[in-house]
């Protein structure tokens, strides 16, 4: 493995040499979706150009080739997150679908009237709403691990929140709006001590940490392909095999059955039981290419680079007058979220856009976090290993200009 080299990795991503309004593009919206290396784009083109066919049903050449490529990805994901068996990997559209799958199968079967589901105060809406829907259907109760002012979970509150009624815990590994890295291993340890299974939302963490589901001892783990260099429309749910086997199926249709008659249908085995219909073959194959890319990358070097970017950006941005950082946890991933006194976040975000700098503004699908900090939203710059200090300089410089333009006249 060659040591991490920023110039080399940048050249792997065609989009990074694109312009925005004729200006050098600075892409700081990585927490929303990552860019794709050429190998991933090529994998898509190659599949559609040379071996496109439906999988698992054909006796012919193309179908066999497509099936082999598709099946190989399950094995790659297994190694990538260190699952015990590739049967523990279920292909889904992304984290949102993965959580909905667990809520409507495991959840429907095991959670009843008066039971409690525990989430945290920094969850993405996709790890709130499916549980609320389940609670509404079953008469169960949603409980929330609170935050402190730095945007960290108040772990002291956890023992009391894990009650005899708690039937499930679902927490985010790394917060998309605050960057906080949560002590999920400790949460899992405490939950397991009371026999409670835990889902870890790894939508953000999978790009920044080396994931080992066995070491975490997570019962379920989810990620979205598009946030880890792969295409949109594909992601994975990991579940411990014994849990998956005991769960009812999700959607009904082809692929998920073993035999069908009008009297009785028997279901296919795990993981196919949860994968009704033609899967997203092309994007799964490209996910495999993304995992190959991660595997040849010096991930320790890349993570170190991201931490340097975070440190540098935190320093520069917090030095800009009128800026207040939101999310100052001791353990953070490469996300800098902030508000500006007297300046609407969207106005400043649009200013940066005119300069070719892509950030995100708003509540980032975590409205409860915004309510906690009593702000309508933040500006968020989120970094990937292919970003540079020069890009951070451009952000800080233009932020200062945006404030100079917008602050003088804006309403208080």
């Amino acid at each position: 493995m060659t040591p991490f080299d920023i110039n080399k990795v940048r050249s792997d991503f065609p989009i990074l040499s694109e312009k925005a309004y004729g200006k050098t593009l600075v892409y700081f919206d990585n927490a929303a979706s990552s860019q794709k290396p050429k190998v991933v784009i090529d994998a898509l083109v190659d599949y559609y150009s040379t071996y496109n066919a439906n999988v698992h049903r054909g006796v012919h050449f193309l179908s066999q080739k497509a099936s082999a490529a598709f099946d190989a990805v399950r094995d790659k994901v297994k190694t990538f997150i260190n699952a015990e068996s590739e049967r523990e990997i279920i292909f889904v559209r992304g984290t949102t679908e993965a959580i909905n799958l667990v809520a409507s199968t495991y959840g429907r079967k095991n959670i009843g009237q008066g039971d409690e589901i525990l989430i945290s105060a920094m969850e993405h809406h996709s790890n709130i709403v499916p549980w609320q829907m389940l609670c509404e259907e079953k008469g169960a109760i949603l409980k929330v691990i609170p935050l402190n002012e730095k945007g960290e979970l108040i772990m002291d509150a956890l023992p009391e929140l894990l009650t005899d009624k708690t039937k499930f815990v679902s927490v985010v590994h790394i917060s998309n709006s605050l960057g906080t890295m949560n002590p999920v291993k400790e949460i899992i340890r405490q939950a397991h001590a009371k026999g409670i299974p835990v889902l870890v939302d790894g939508a953000q963490s999978t790009a920044h940490e080396i994931i080992d589901v066995q070491e975490l001892d997570a019962d379920f783990f989810t990620f979205s392909g598009h946030k880890i260099l792969a295409p949109t429309g594909v992601g994975c749910l990991y579940g411990k095999l014994h849990l998956l086997e005991a769960m009812p199926p999700y959607q009904g249709g082809g692929e998920m059955i073993s035999s069908v008659s009008f009297e009785k249908t028997t279901y296919n085995e795990v993981p196919f039981k949860f994968e009704a219909g033609t899967p997203n073959i092309a994007d799964a194959i490209a996910l495999g290419a993304a995992i190959d890319y991660w595997n040849q990358l010096d991930r320790v070097g890349a993570a170190k680079w991201e931490m340097e970017l975070l440190k540098y950006a935190t320093k520069l941005i917090s030095e800009v007058p009128s800026v207040r950082l939101i999310g100052t946890a001791d353990k953070k991933a490469s996300v800098v979220s902030f508000v500006i006194d007297g300046v609407n976040a969207m106005d400043a975000g649009m200013f940066l856009d005119t300069k070719g700098i892509a950030v995100r503004t708003g509540h980032h699908c975590t409205e409860p976090v915004m309510n906690f900090f009593q702000i309508p939203g933040t500006l968020r710059a989120s970094f990937m290993f292919y970003n540079t200090n020069e890009e951070v300089d451009a952000l800080a410089e233009n932020l200062t200009k945006a404030i100079a333009l917008l602050q003088t006249h804006s309403v208080a």
């Binding site: 309004y21 004729g22 609407n344 976040a345 969207m346 106005d347 649009m350 200013f351 856009d353 005119t354 300069k355 503004t361 708003g362 309508p376 939203g377 333009l405 917008l406 003088t408 006249h409 804006s410 309403v411």
Partner: protein
Amino acid sequence: MSSIKQIEEEIISDFELFDSWEEKYHYIIELGQKLAPLDDKYKVDEYKIKGCQSSVWLNGEERDGKLFFSADSDSTFVKGEIALLMMVLSGQAPEDILDAKLEFIDALGLRQHIAVTRANGLASMIKQMKTYAFAMTTANK
């Protein structure tokens, strides 16, 4: 007072001077900063239009058979958008406001920038302005 259509044409030709999004942004921010302040008594929920990332307060008043608007927002850019809408609609007859197709918005080349979060906000502002116009026409019948 020029007709809605004439004012739309004037704004379109003003915008033809700009060849970049950056220039348009600065122009709209400037319009927003110059928008006449809204009386505080209207900055309450009754007059509020909630957008995705900003709030707008809008009031409409009848004078001599014409409808006049005043508004404010917590976003300067949105205030600029309101200023554009007000240039076209404020002071017009309610019937004309109801009929206005406001095609100038597309001609300004702003849609892509306001599409995601604010096309909705803009649509609600227009809807609210038309609601005032509708109320005025029915009240005068």
